[in-house]
């Protein structure tokens, strides 16, 4: 039997099985949304496929119900661990009134939920990164020992908001984890046209805190690196930049055609490193999973996605005039 790598980083058998469940759930929700999109039922999909291990590994290192997250649009795996459900995601995909992210106002992938500690994000990339720093600053003033996670792609690591926020967090030694999911492409533009440095993690030196690059296809490795970063942040050691090296298995979005800028051979090669079968294989090697258990898990996830889809499809749309609500707080004067 292979060494239980997960035990070495402090993960129990139950936890790694749970991690696999969340990875699978994220993948299956995502795949269903593509089907619904191609069937003309949902207008837009933006994927997490290929990034589930990085996302779930990272989220498991955080304290759900206590820590805050400012995720980017691919972080389906992260928000599921933080308490969103398949139904929540499907309600967003169908833009229904009950969608807890935005009541059907935002495109899917714009995660939000105050009670889950998920700060609402927008579409201009990287704007969420200074928000994470602000939450950490506010928490420090309130003397609450939370850690704030924010994620973004490698393309976003070029934005001014990334640099400004990382620098601010470095100067003030704030408990923020800058989690870059380097999936090799900013829509069509490859890494080599985005960055001149060897890795995104190298950028951390400019802000005076550690930068770590990790194989994002391995949830245990990601968890290990994240756990160190979280401990450093919570104990007053300041921020960390973590770069999870992954590959975006789908086109940028349902409106993109990646055949125009990358070869099928390249994508097929990347699929050989797909984190889901890799992790399933590890779980089998350590005796936590077998064909029967895996089939049962697939069935459970399938059922969850089916029920969520059915519920969301039948749920009511928001009332048209509700578009006027929530511009300002209800108060005197205005």
């Amino acid at each position: 039997m292979t060494i239980k790598r997960h035990e070495e980083v402090g993960l129990t058998d139950a936890q790694v099985l749970d991690m696999y469940y969340y990875m699978l759930l994220a993948r299956k929700i995502d795949e269903r949304q593509w089907l619904l999109n191609r069937a003309g039922k949902v207008p837009f999909v933006i994927s997490c496929q290929g990034q589930e291990a990085a996302q779930v590994g990272a989220a498991f290192a955080l304290k759900k119900g206590k820590d805050y997250i400012c995720p980017y649009y691919r972080d389906l795996g992260v928000v599921l661990v933080f308490g969103q459900t398949a139904r929540d995601c499907m309600l967003a995909a169908f833009a229904k009134a009950e969608d807890p992210n935005s009541g059907g106002r935002q495109m899917p992938g714009h995660f939000s939920g105050k009670k889950l500690g998920i700060l609402s994000g927008s579409s201009p990339v990287t704007t969420q990164v200074p928000h994470a720093v602000g939450i950490a600053l506010g928490a420090r003033m309130k003397q609450e020992d939370i850690v704030v996670y924010t994620s973004f792609g490698e393309g976003s690591s070029n934005q001014g908001d990334f640099h400004e926020a990382a620098n601010f967090a470095g100067v003030h030694k704030l408990p923020v984890i800058f989690f870059c999911e380097n999936n090799q492409y900013a829509i069509s533009v490859p890494l080599k046209k985005q960055l001149a440095c060897a890795s995104v993690a190298d950028r951390a030196i400019g802000y005076g805190f550690p930068g770590v690059s990790v194989d994002g296809n391995d949830p245990i490795e990601v968890y290990r690196v994240m756990k160190e970063a979280v401990e450093r942040a919570r104990s007053g050691g300041g921020p960390t930049l973590v770069e999870a090296v992954v590959y975006r298995l789908t086109p940028h979005s349902s409106d993109d055609d990646d055949r125009t800028y990358r070869s099928r051979e390249e994508v097929e090669e990347a699929k050989k490193k797909d984190p889901l079968p890799q992790f399933a294989s590890y779980l089998k090697q350590v005796g936590l999973l077998d064909e029967e258990k895996e089939a049962a898990l697939h069935k459970r996830v399938q059922q969850e996605v089916d029920e969520a889809t059915e519920y969301a499809e039948q749920a009511p749309y928001p009332a048209p005039e509700s578009a006027l609500a929530h511009v300002y707080a209800k108060q005197e004067g205005i």
Binding site: C70, L119, S122, L137, G138, A139, I334
Partner: protein
Amino acid sequence: MAVLSYIEAINLAMREEMRRDPRVFVLGEDVGVRGGVFRATMGLIEEFGEARVIDTPLAESAIVGVGIGAAAYGMRPIAEIQFADFILPAVNQIVSEAAKLRYRSNGDWNCPITIRAPFGGGVHGALYHSQSVEAMFTNVPGLKVVVPATPYDAKGLLKAAIRDEDPVLFFEHKRCYRLIKGEVPEDDYTVPIGVADVKREGTDLTVISYGLTLHFCLQAAEKLAEEGISAHVLDLRTLYPLDKEAIVQAAAKTGKVLIVHEDNKEGGVGGEVAAIIAEHCLFDLDAPIRRLCGPDIPAMPFSPPLEKFFMLNPDKVLEAMRELAHF
């Protein structure tokens, strides 16, 4: 009652709010030990310490963006942009984030941030230390845009902005800072956002303004009274959302309207004020609506004659008022 300058009233408002509410804090460039380049935050770091009066790195988008995160978390940040001209790197944070956080989360999150910025010219500030940028923000639902003209309003409106549950852009005319003085009560009062104020009652013509030019209008009205012409002067105070009722009431009262602002004319706030009047009380008017504004050039030049040419003054306003009164 104490007579304070406009900037002293602003300083007092922040001091009082910071004493009242531990969630209130200040962040910006040079706001700490220097007390702000205009000294608006003078003495705050001594009283409240560097944890609540934060000298930030020189990066405007982070000043606002970090403030937004803190506000969402439940703090009451006052972010200072050193000059309104330098707010542009933070516009994405203000317009895409602060203004839309409540709306896009269907009322789940909100963003109670106050963003202070000195604007306007007449201080030899040239192109990039003199601009009026308010019109860039006055068609952004979700934001409130406030411009006080008097020390009384400055204190009351700033306290209201800090307590507001939504983001407020608070533009302070930098020429007013030490030029304008007035009585400011020492007690805890607020001036409601979204409510204009009649600063002078009159019957022959209505002048609508805000900021520094409001004072030019009042001075011109004083002189015009000697000629037997009575001017009604409305101070907008909040530029977004506008107090439509007060505008219509003031316009209908005299039937002649002059709108005065330092910002350039085309696309300025005056156009919206004129449209409100045209929509609601066109038939109460006895003359076409007039606008007296800065010229439509990119910004205010440095050379004194050029700056003087750009700036309005009481004489220019007097002439426009007299002409309209005789229409």
